[in-house]
């Protein structure tokens, strides 16, 4: 029985999309639970920001085995930026990296981000998406900075809340 390649790829593609979609939605379902349990005195954005910190802490740990100084500071920053962009791509984004204007600065650009769509669907505030990503990345950097003994920062330069256009962040060393 020959393989119908088109059929198999379609099947895989569909599965990939629905898996991503379910993961995104699961986040918002849990967010709902957390917001409800937190009560009226806690702002939903604070819940989301705390979640970003928890995620960032754990993802930061998973980055450490890959961190490598053998190619010097620039090489290290490139590996790190690639990992951050890679994270976004796995979630269904379209992120790339490029050298920034200043020496030692790397730009992470994202042209397509699935999160705002889910946020809208679950009635979560639009602005938190980019802000949460910034917070998550900052938390990732905490462990990486401490591990490599290099203070690092990430700054949100431009955010398109609806997930169209371009979100830009810069990764650099704290001077």
């Amino acid at each position: 029985m020959l393989v119908d390649t088109e059929k198999e790829i379609t099947k895989m593609h569909r599965m990939l999309y629905s898996t991503r979609n379910e993961i995104g939605k699961t986040y918002y379902r849990w967010r709902q639970v957390a917001v409800e349990l937190a009560g009226d005195n806690v702002k939903p954005l604070d819940v989301s920001l705390r979640a970003a910190e928890v995620f960032g802490k754990d993802i930061g740990k998973s980055f450490l085995p890959r961190m490598n100084w053998l190619k010097g500071e620039e090489g290290f920053l490139m590996i790190l930026a690639k990992s951050l962009a890679g994270l976004w791509n796995t979630e269904g984004g379209l992120a790339t990296i490029e050298k920034g204007e200043k020496p030692g600065e790397i730009k992470i650009k994202c042209l397509r981000d699935p999160w705002p769509t889910w946020a809208k669907e679950y009635g979560a505030p639009m602005e938190e998406v980019a802000v949460c990503r910034e917070r998550m990345y900052q938390t990732i950097l905490e462990d990486v900075s401490a591990f490599m003994n290099v203070p690092l920062k990430i700054e949100l330069q431009k955010a398109i809340a609806r997930g169209e256009g371009e979100t830009v962040m810069t990764l650099s060393k704290v001077e």
Partner: protein
């Protein structure tokens, strides 16, 4: 005048003539040690979870003490803090209170009984510690690279001073227990090395900063320990000659040599040259690293210090250490895993019985067990950690002599054969091959050090000859032969049955067996699909990839090499990547076509892979001959891969267990 504890004269030992440099005395501090052999400290997880010494631990050490024939025999590193942050292993011996002295004395007495020099080791596991508590401690709170380790708490200045005092207190207890020589362990990323390394020490007080600052705690520990040990008990230290931490900005090799000089200045009586951290990305002691790979580091150490230099690290045979000691490039031969695998290894060297050594195969299962909170086990030595169980370690002669037919001269059959024969049975081993060794004849051809697996067969051959085992090679055992011979017992050690590919095209002439591939009997095309993702398949895939072939592994297991222990498995993953091998796990072959194969994942997704040859490495239990033996009412045992396809270790352990039971 240096003190001699026990008189040893090696004049009548043949090994002392072959390896004269190993059997000449050496002075360490004020102690004269009769030879150059040292059993290096080895954690064994055999103590109680409260840190008290057990019978198992004492008997384990007794055998190693006999093994060093008068040399140095070190017990495992003890942890010294009551908060247990320095405890790296659940069964690590403790020494934070005088109440531990009687137990430690039992180990010391056992070593002395063998007329060996008893060594005590102080080992705070630092970043790798806190197995029973929530936080380990270190000079700075540098996050852990590996998730299995606990978060690090930065020690205050007062904590550092307490820790230094704890070393001195524990040393005093060691001396009171009767130990003759003291060692501070700064090995593989434990607390001492955490203080020394620029990677983990970011302190700004007197215990951090430049290399002198980072060495300050070590200097104070050496001085404190020396004070309590006095002039009779020498104090040595194990220090990294290379941290292998360039990727995280650790110390340079030059800095490491500087630490040796500072330790000597502080009063250390010898240096034990170690290498790498558990966090290093480079392998140091696994089988893929050739024996003797690191010995040049001892020579470099000797160029920097004038006190004796000791070193281990893949020095599994006596030739190299003997040569290097003779050349003045090393002073003492440290041995760890070779004496886990065979506690009497150096004794056998001394007695000229080298062929009777059961060699370590550098698989690192012993280490993997410790990290999984399990008692020490050795892949190749079934008695390891069972020394205290007399009926297991020294089984009695058989009550009734039996005629035993063993089918298969692989490692399982051979192990069973010599054990059974040495207990008085009449043992006949049959193999349809003309040679002994079973599947290891092929397995030894896999790259990255697998030739060392063959040492097991060399050992078993000698033991079988000694025990008077009868061999019938080139003889296939059939139902008729069993009925003709009618032995009292049959042991089926026939190895695995190789799987048939049940999918359409399963009779294709593209399909070959991995044993034929490994022995160059099969013709293999340029593109290959390996069916089976356990170690035999991986070994064969690497063998073919080394010949320039494009190999894809397709296997049913969820992760490739799940049968390889985790301390070694990561190496194979890297080698497969380096050799361009693609792996599809959790998959089966759905069809074999003219172009290649169709692979089917667990979820039904199918895709084609082009290939010229399909190699079968997937195995199942071997049912042949069982029915006949059972129907004749003959006692039956099935061992090794014939029972369940596993590995060399299970073959040896099964063989031993049945060999002592018959």
């Amino acid at each position: 005048m240096a003190k001699t504890l026990f008189e040893w004269d090696y004049a009548d030992y043949p090994g002392a003539k072959t390896y004269p440099h190993l059997f000449k005395p050496i002075q360490i501090g004020n102690l004269m040690v009769p030879n150059r052999i040292k059993y290096a400290a080895t954690e064994d997880n055999l103590n109680g979870h409260d840190g008290f010494v057990t019978d198992a631990g004492v008997e384990y050490m007794r055998q190693r003490a006999i093994g060093v024939v008068g040399g140095l025999c070190f017990m495992q590193g003890v942890y010294m803090d009551p908060k247990r942050q320095g405890q790296g292993y659940v069964g690590q011996a403790a020494c934070w209170d005088d109440k531990f002295i009687p137990g430690l004395k039992r180990i010391c007495d056992a070593i002395h009984k063998a007329k060996a020099v008893a060594g005590f080791q102080l080992m705070d596991c630092g970043r790798v510690g806190a197995v029973e508590v929530d936080y380990c401690h270190g000079p700075s709170a540098v996050p852990q690279r590996l998730r299995i380790f606990k978060p690090v708490e930065e020690m205050t200045n007062a904590d550092v001073k307490t820790m230094i005092q704890q070393h001195a207190d524990a040393a005093r207890r060691g001396v009171e227990a009767g130990f003759d020589i003291m060692e501070i362990s700064g090995i593989v990323g434990y607390l001492i090395s955490n203080f020394i390394s620029s990677y983990t020490n970011r302190r700004t007080d007197e215990y951090g900063g430049d290399l002198r600052g980072r060495m300050q705690a070590v200097v104070e520990i050496i001085q404190g320990v020396k004070d309590v040990c006095g002039s009779d008990v020498p104090v040595g230290i194990r220090l990294c000659s290379e941290e292998l931490l360039d990727d995280v900005r650790g110390n340079t090799p030059e800095e490491s040599m500087e630490t040796y000089k500072i330790a000597e200045e502080a009063g250390a009586d010898y240096i034990s040259c170690t290498l790498g951290w558990q966090e290093s990305i480079y392998p140091v002691i696994s089988r893929d690293i050739p024996m003797g790979n690191w010995i040049h580091l001892a020579k470099r150490a000797k160029e920097h210090v004038s006190i004796p230099v000791q070193m281990a690290y893949r020095l599994f045979k006596p030739e190299l250490p003997n040569e290097k000691i003779g050349a003045g490039e090393l002073d003492q031969w440290e041995i760890c895993r070779s004496m886990i695998a065979d506690p009497h290894m150096p004794k056998k060297v001394a007695e000229g019985k080298e062929t009777e050594i059961r060699h370590c195969v550098a698989c690192n299962l012993c280490l993997a067990r410790l990290f999984r909170d399990a008692p020490m086990t050795c892949y190749i030595n079934p008695v390891c950690a069972h020394e205290w169980q007399q009926e297991f370690a020294n089984p009695k002669p058989a009550e009734e002599e039996k005629e035993v037919m063993i089918v298969g001269a692989g490692p399982a059959g051979l192990e069973c054969a010599y054990m059974a024969a040495s207990r008085g049975h009449e043992v006949h081993v049959y193999d349809k091959r003309d040679v002994i060794g079973g599947t290891l004849n092929e397995a030894k051809n896999a790259p990255y050090g697998d030739d060392e697996l063959w040492t097991c067969i060399e050992y078993q051959k000698v033991m079988c000859e000694k025990a008077g085992v009868n061999f019938h090679l080139g003889t296939e055992v059939t139902d008729d032969l069993i009925e003709d011979e009618m032995p009292d017992t049959v042991v089926l050690a026939t190895g695995p049955a190789y799987s048939k590919i049940e999918a359409p095209g399963g009779d294709s002439d593209k399909i070959v067996n991995l044993l034929d591939v490994m022995s160059d009997k099969a013709e293999v095309g340029e593109t290959v699909v390996m069916y089976g993702n356990r170690k035999p398949g991986i070994g064969c895939a690497l063998h073919l990839a080394k010949q320039g072939k494009k190999v894809t592994i397709v296997g049913k297991e969820k992760s490739a090499g799940f049968d390889v222990n985790p301390s070694f498995k990561w190496r194979y993953m890297i080698y497969m990547r380096q050799n361009g091998i693609t792996v599809y796990n959790d998959c089966d072959i759905d069809e074999i076509t003219d172009e290649g194969v169709v692979v089917k994942a667990y979820d039904g997704i199918r895709w084609p892979i082009k290939c010229d040859t399909v190699v079968v490495s997937d195995r199942g239990p071997n049912e042949s001959l069982k029915k006949t033996v059972q129907s004749e009412g003959i006692e039956l045992f099935v061992i090794g891969d014939a029972l369940i396809p596993r590995n060399l270790s299970s073959a040896v352990h099964d063989g031993y267990r049945i060999g002592i039971r018959l």
